[in-house]
């Protein structure tokens, strides 16, 4: 039986290099021990170098979603929380749970445009703004440097930019953190580093956030810690990963476009498809292909498809087109028109 094709979690389909896997195995040999603070310090230093920021700005965590949750929990007190909608599911959940006042700025299909002026109008009181850039699930870049500057220069505003897909988009504001105490950037090694199973997240935190995080001390799992350190010693594979994923993404986008499927352009490792086929998620699941239904955040018909290997993507395209042809054929049979 064919293995399930997982295109629903925005994972990168390629394994990390053998050295990284071996390092994780080395970590397994220390399963009875908590992580050594020296090793944690090494990882922190490597991430600081990788991000081009001073080490004191970097805070580690098992997954960036935990950091986002912690930020919202801590800094929403006495502040209006502003997010975009749709957005990363964990951010939305945490904002709903902790915010005493919450405003979501709707990104409306089909363009999903972000209106900076609308956000600026909201910044008339103490605010915590959390924006994923690129946005998940639309794959769109919402902020540029000018926009970030405008937001963080507003009185009493804290800005958190979630850069989980930074390696694919190439857009980052990490270098602005040192000069802007009210800016924080969250990142993850889950995606471009092929380390979703290791769950290494980090925040590059401005001065205003750092006091809070000085007591936030994460004991990372040993295998994850060793794998992450080794990965950062071999960053070339990340560039190869990104290149392969971007090439595949563009190929899938072009193919779907040529087949007249409504698909949005993306700067990430996933695509948003607007389909006319009801239950497409279920129909694909029935043939062993998993994609994500976005109907909890967007009008029905929108689904998110992660970029897999070439073979997996071909299987998705073929499966989708087969289901679509059967669906349209059924429609025509019902209509009995223009035969």
């Amino acid at each position: 039986m064919r293995e399930t094709i997982k295109l629903n979690m925005n994972e990168v389909p390629y394994l990390p290099p053998r050295e990284v896997i071996k390092a994780a195995q080395k970590g397994l040999a220390k399963l009875n021990r908590y992580a050594d603070p020296e090793d944690l310090g090494r990882l922190r230093g490597l991430l600081a170098d990788y991000s081009g920021v001073p080490e004191e700005h970097v805070v580690l965590s098992p997954g960036s979603d935990i950091l986002l949750r912690e930020v919202i929990h801590t800094f929403s007190k006495g502040r209006k929380v502003i997010i975009v909608s749709p957005s990363f599911f964990s951010t939305v959940q945490a904002a709903k749970q902790f915010a005493t006042k919450l405003v979501s700025l709707r990104l409306s299909p089909p363009e999903f445009d972000f209106d900076l002026n609308l956000l600026m109008d909201e910044l008339q009181e103490p605010c915590l703004v959390i924006i994923d850039n690129p946005n998940n699930p639309t794959g769109k870049i919402l902020l540029d440097r000018q926009a970030v500057e405008a937001i963080i220069e507003s009185t009493d505003t804290l800005l958190v930019v979630d850069e989980a897909y930074y390696e694919f988009s190439g857009v980052t504001f990490a270098d602005m953190v040192h000069d802007h105490p009210n800016l924080a950037v969250t990142r993850t090694m889950d995606k471009a580093f092929s380390l979703a199973g290791a769950r290494i997240g980090y925040v590059i935190a401005g001065e205003a956030f750092r006091d809070t995080f000085s007591s936030f001390y994460a004991f990372l799992p040993q295998p994850s810690l060793y794998a992450a350190i080794e990965a950062l010693n071999h960053p070339d594979y990340v560039r190869r990963n990104v290149q392969r994923v971007v090439e595949e993404r563009e190929r899938v986008w072009r193919t779907l476009n040529e087949l007249a499927v409504h698909v949005c352009q993306s700067t990430t490792n996933f695509l948003v498809v607007n389909t006319e086929i009801p239950d497409i998620v279920k129909r694909l699941r029935d043939i062993g292909i998993l994609i994500l239904d976005l109907s909890n955040q967007l009008p029905s018909g929108f689904v998110r498809v992660s970029i897999g290997t070439g073979e997996e993507n071909d299987a998705f395209i073929a499966g989708y087109m087969k289901i679509r042809a059967a669906y349209l054929n059924g429609m025509q049979m019902n209509a009995g028109f223009r035969g």
């Binding site: 909608s85 749709p86 709903k96 915010a99 005493t100 006042k101 919450l102 405003v103 979501s104 700025l105 709707r106 409306s108 299909p109 089909p110 209106d115 609308l118 909201e122 006319e276 109907s295 909890n296 955040q297 967007l298 009008p299 029905s300 429609m331 019902n334 209509a335 009995g336 028109f337 223009r338």
Partner: protein
Amino acid sequence: MKNVVGLIVNPVAGMGGSVGLKGTDGETYKKALELGAQPVTPKRTKDCLSRIERKDDITLFVAPGKMGEEYAEAFDTPFTVIGAVGEETSAEDTKRIAAEMVSRGVGLLIFVGGDGTARDIYDAIDSQVPVVAVPSGVKIFSSVFAVSARAAAEMVDAFVEGTDVTEEEVLDIDEEAFREDRLASRLYGYLLVPNVRSFLQPGKAASNVSISSVESKKEIAAYIVEEIDRETLYLLGPGTTLEAIAAEMEVPKTLLGIDAVFGGELVGTDLNEKGILGLLERYDERKIIVTPIGGNGFIFGRGSKQFTPEVIRQVGRENIVVVGTRDKVGRLDCLRVDTGDFELDELLCGYMEVVVGYKEGMMVKVRC
């Protein structure tokens, strides 16, 4: 070769709206006339016809008199009248003429009306030819309708240019139940329409009755009531979210009508335009609270036509409060308005905050 396009207008569609009758099926339109209702289809029909750009590629067939012929001048091209009708028109006329048009080679049928008219057209022609449905009724819940008369004109042009067709739903709400504040709808059938998705209104989604939705409405109601100013008149639109707000205010609410509250007391029930305007004269501070129709996002121009352009202008954009559960609003492309007054529609466009929970808002684009 030219495309043969038919036009059928339901001259009484939409007349019940401003006088609070929630429809004109059967004999109700006579009651609408007695209450001073004015026809709304002429403007809608002319708005559509005058905006069709591919006139030279169209041969127009029209129904007689006020069912089409009277507006054909706006089309500025020769036309042929199909069939005959008496002084008073009926659903049977619509069905008969639609069938005759198709038998005489019409390739696209434009009709102007509401859900009832769509049902009649479906009865007559089923899926034999595609249609462009111009919204003009009180109840417009079917996805077969264009979002506005302007959009309908663009759909006609798209058809002439060769776009493909797609199936859309014809729904109907039982008007008798509707007047008794019960919402009873069913899928009636499908019509074919030019496949220009952005011009079609999504159908009304079934009301979400999950626990979270009920809780969400309670949250909204608690917040709205907390913010209530006792010196302001509140005009509560239709819908279950507004029903929850009324319950929190401890006043009764007609599910599908417009009710008014001032100082914690009910001062108007199931109001029509005249009743609302009367209240607006008496109270200086006033707000409208509405919820978008699930699925298509209309806040004005569908379902609550008692909020006429005159009423909305008097109350003012800044005094419109939009409420809706997170789930419902999250599934919308945008909010929509189609009041029949383009200037007002454009004024209402832009962003509006929708209250989606306790101290929780979502800024959503309004489109027309």
